[in-house]
Amino acid sequence: MTVSYDNSKTIFEGIKAAGITSISALPETWLGLLLQRAEDDPDMQLIQVAKEEEAVGIAAGAYFAGEPHILLMQNHGMFGALNGIVSLAQLYGIPLCMLIAVRGHWGEPYPWHTRGGIVTEGILQALSIPFEHARDPEKVGKQIQEAWIFSQSSLSPVALLLTRDLMED
């Protein structure tokens, strides 16, 4: 299994088409090609964090600054960012548009990812974070735009879950 070059390109184009100019991220395998494009694009600011919770703070700063900003992370990274999501974004009404690589679900060969994959949707539901699955490269661009719009109108975190169908060839 390899990370999909074409779909990584499609997702990045969707991010650009949604008007996003700034990304905070922690690199992970599925996001690698996507983040490479962000790094190479002179019109995109990529901020790599040491831990995903920092990205919640950076996203809040970008929101105050009026800069269209999204977060890219793995589901396990989101777990490490939970207090920031709850006690900054949700507490203060700050939008977060999160694109989350969901490891550890259907077809997952690596044991270490599985527990996180199994609990991801339950955690999102428990926190009332609206989410959609992105499986189809034909639709992912529209889904990114919709996630962005909904985060801004609801002043809430929203999650677009990037699945194996989309991220692997």
């Binding site: 700034s22 905070s24 600011q45 901020i47 790599q48 964090v49 040491a50 831990k51 919770e53 920092e54 990205a55 919640v56 703070g57 950076i58 996203a59 809040a60 700063g61 970008a62 929101y63 105050f64 600054a65 009026g66 800069e67 900003h69 207090n83 920031g84 006690s87 900054l88 507490l91 203060y92 009404g93 700050i94």
Partner: protein, 192 residues
């Protein structure tokens, strides 16, 4: 030296800056001097004040951003110092009030008590070039003036007593602070 003294010294300089504080005593002491629309008080999510400052500074290069942080909060986001160093926003001053105590949550010793952990050394080790460690009001004032004139990322670690205000409370709901802070930032942006 007390943190309230340092914040009072800084206060006249804050009018044209964007200011992010951590929870508890730091937020209250600033608020008690007189709230301004360009102040954002992070009353929870310990550790993220410097990350908010980074997000502001990188996206608003024409603004000067000041973060009022504390030892307990910084210890929760040490990686954030490395991220600051990597992106090195010229317009960010990160002030860490080190009282060696988790004062707002019961006054337990923090890891910096008795000099066990040296936050200035950690900041330098993270790759931040301009780090000052001060323990007197005069040195704090000098370090702050230098940092504000420097046009580069600066950190000041100010050793202060573990004391805070007698009373806590703000006439400012948390989302209200966020909405008004954002509006203030946007109005300043539009006025440029």
């Amino acid at each position: 030296m007390e943190r309230a003294q340092c914040i009072a010294m800084l206060y006249p300089e804050l009018e044209d800056k964007l200011v992010v504080t951590i929870m508890g005593a730091s937020a209250q002491e600033l608020y008690d001097l007189g709230h301004r629309e360009n102040f954002f008080y992070l009353q929870h999510a310990m550790g993220l004040a410097s990350s908010i400052g980074l997000g502001l500074a990188l996206h608003l290069p024409e603004e000067q951003v000041i973060v009022l942080d504390g030892d307990g909060s910084v210890l929760m986001n040490l990686g954030g110092l490395a991220t600051l160093a990597r992106y090195r926003p010229k317009n960010l001053l990160h002030i860490i009030f080190d009282n060696g105590s988790l004062l707002s949550t019961g006054g337990f010793d923090s890891h910096t008590t008795a000099g066990i952990t040296d936050l200035a050394a950690i900041a330098r080790g993270a790759g931040i070039e301009h780090v000052a460690a001060v323990d007197s009001p005069m040195d704090f004032g000098e370090a702050a003036v230098e940092a504000l004139e420097r046009d580069d990322l600066s950190v000041i670690v100010a050793r202060v007593k573990a004391v805070g205000p007698d009373n806590y409370g703000m006439d400012l709901a948390l989302p209200e602070n966020a909405f008004r802070f954002k509006r203030c930032v946007q109005e300043r942006k539009a006025a440029r």
